[in-house]
């Protein structure tokens, strides 16, 4: 068995193991073997089927989607620091959600829809504005600069709305909590939204993985090897924004996964995107599942309500730094 196959087997087994641990973790102690042999109470079955199972599946989907979104963006930008934040998706989603809460909406699906459409809308504006700025050529530096400018604008408007809302304690609290990112209120409706979106995103991503390998050689070389560079930039930016946008809209901001997981996968398995992107997705799922187990454990054992978005940053930063140091000294 070569290194790659062994790594894939280990990652899949880790994912399965964490999935089972995730289902067993929570305030109520539920024996999974009892559930399999139909010996759980109605309450335990309901908790498992309606709360824990959708949350565990959500963690897998969200982690994978964020990691794929980051991996493909890093591919076209040829920069390991690229993530959906630099094309305005994250701050767009934030602005959408805060606007929805500001307008008095309380329905989670409506807030998520607001967040998703604003996130996608901001990415569209970023892309087309940058296209105008760069004399109809696809120059990614201009896309990044426009993305940073639009993100700053979205953050400024969000801050204004948040400042105005601070007098209404409940509204302000909901806005701040949304920005932390959480899998807490996941239900099957969310899965029904995220799963098809995830499949569509992956389906449209697949034909471009080959082009991402060629784009790592530079835009001109890629074009000479048959890649329609401008079109590929466009597709990748929108697939990335689509995947990150839908996830962030439902869960709130969960940072670092889109940055860390593809980076670790690249250090371990190289730059071949046909391998890199699926393995980043697997790592993203493992990372978020593990993180959410810690969140559930802390809440059940110590009544500490730590949000997953905060935890991913807390775990992600030292992990990320250690990987960089490892690379430096290897």
């Amino acid at each position: 068995m070569n290194k790659l196959t062994l790594s894939i087997v280990i990652l899949i087994l880790s994912l399965l193991g964490l999935f089972i641990i995730h289902l067993a973790t929570g305030f109520f102690s539920i024996n999974l073997l009892d559930y399999i042999s139909n010996q759980t109470t109605l309450q335990e079955t309901a908790i498992l089927e309606n709360i824990r199972l959708p949350r565990a599946i959500m963690a897998i989907l969200v982690g994978s989607a964020l990691a794929i979104s980051g991996a493909i963006l890093q591919g076209i930008f040829r920069n390991p620091l690229a993530s959906s934040g630099i094309i305005g998706t994250d701050s767009g989603a934030m602005l959408g959600a805060i606007t929805a809460i500001f307008l008095g909406l309380t329905n989670q699906t409506l807030i998520a829809s607001f967040a998703f459409f604003t996130a996608t809308g901001i990415t569209v504006i970023v892309y087309f504005l940058s296209f105008q700025f760069q004399n109809k050529r696809s120059d990614l530096v201009v896309v990044i600069l426009t993305g940073i400018a639009m993100s700053a604008l979205c953050s400024a408007i969000s801050s204004i709305l948040l400042t105005i809302s601070l007098e209404d304690w409940d509204m302000g609290k909901r806005m701040v909590l949304w920005s932390f990112g959480s899998l807490e209120h996941t239900n099957w409706t969310h899965i029904k939204i995220i799963l098809p979106t995830f499949i569509i995103g992956c389906f449209f991503c697949l034909p471009h993985l080959k082009n991402l390998n060629l784009l790592s050689l530079g835009d001109e070389t890629a074009q000479s090897l048959g890649v329609k560079v401008g079109k590929t930039h466009f597709y990748i930016i929108f697939i990335s924004s689509f995947l990150a946008g839908i996830v962030v809209s439902i869960t709130g901001m969960i940072g670092f996964i889109g940055l860390v997981c593809p980076h670790i996968a690249r250090l371990m398995f190289g730059n071949n995107h046909l391998i890199l992107v699926p393995l980043s997705a697997l790592m993203g799922a493992i990372f978020l599942l593990a993180g959410d187990i810690v969140v559930l454990f802390l809440k059940a054992t110590y009544q500490v309500d730590l949000k997953i978005g905060i935890l991913t940053a807390l775990i992600g930063v030292p992990f990320f730094l250690s990987m960089i140091l490892k690379r430096k000294f290897s």
């Binding site: 040829r78 004399n135 697949l206 034909p207 993985l209 080959k210 390998n213 060629l214 790592s216 050689l217 530079g218 001109e220 070389t221 074009q223 000479s224 090897l225 048959g226 890649v227 329609k228 690249r266 250090l267 190289g270 730059n271 071949n272 046909l274």
Partner: protein, 253 residues
């Protein structure tokens, strides 16, 4: 029209950012020929190579590849016939030498570029031609400058394109590696490849060029073999220098 003409330009005008780079130039490159593009910085050598590689578009005139208008050939088909090697290449990549060279097979692949037995044979053959087979598993980033240049050449060979374009490929190489590179180009020419290469050094151009295309002030000032009696005066005119008759150091290719 002779069928041996592989590249043919007629009244070709190329603009970049509304500025004329090349104006109504005409030339031909025949099959199995090394044509050298000579010219000062900014004379349009790179622009011409990129236009033939379909990276840039041209505004006026005709550009034909194997008697077919380049503008009617789609990018994928063109990439199977024309291999372009850029002047500056980023080798800071997590690719093995084999993976790097295998990217040359992508123009022949569909959506999922899985390598067949035939692809592996072509890649290994390309690596053997440039004497890099022993380093196939090494990271491309860990090779020396000369080895990286040979890996680029191997990628170009792996495309199996009959037309090979090179933009100043020997700029960063020492004299030994430059000569090695030129020897490989001559081997490829002898194997039937048509090569168009941009070079700065006049002596190098004389060594390997079957014909020279001298670009100056948006035009081709000289088009012919280097032993043409007018070549020296054209070089002096375009580069605004005086060539001495001193014997330069001569190297065997």
């Amino acid at each position: 029209m002779s069928s041996s003409q592989v590249i043919k330009a007629e009244g070709l005008t190329i603009l970049r950012d509304k500025k004329i780079i090349l104006e109504e130039i005409s030339f031909e490159v025949k099959a199995g020929e090394i044509a050298v593009l000579l010219g000062a910085n900014g004379s349009g050598k790179s622009t011409l190579l990129k236009t033939i590689a379909k990276i840039l578009s041209f505004q006026k005139g005709k550009l034909q590849i194997f008697d077919k208008d380049l503008s009617t050939i789609d990018l994928k088909t063109a990439s199977q016939s024309i291999s372009y090697t850029a002047q500056n290449n980023d080798f800071n990549l997590a690719f093995s030498v084999f993976e790097f060279v295998s990217l040359g097979r992508y123009p022949h692949k569909g959506m999922l570029p899985f390598l067949t037995q035939k692809d592996n044979e072509i890649i290994n053959q390309a690596l053997q031609t440039v004497d890099l087979l022993a380093l196939a598993k090494k990271n491309i980033n860990h090779l020396s400058g000369g080895e990286q240049q040979r890996a680029l050449l191997a990628r170009s060979i792996a495309t199996e394109a009959p037309i090979l374009l090179f933009d100043e490929p020997t700029n960063s190489l020492d004299i030994k590696h430059q000569l090695e590179f030129f020897k490989l180009l001559i081997t490829l020419r002898n194997a039937g490849k048509t090569i168009l290469i941009a070079i700065h050094n006049v002596n190098d151009a004389l060594k390997i060029g079957d014909k020279i295309l001298l670009l100056h002030q948006n035009k081709i000032k000289f088009d012919g073999p280097a032993n043409d009696p007018t070549f020296k005066s054209k070089i002096e005119e375009c580069f605004q220098i005086k060539l001495s008759n001193n014997q330069s150091y001569n190297f065997e290719l």
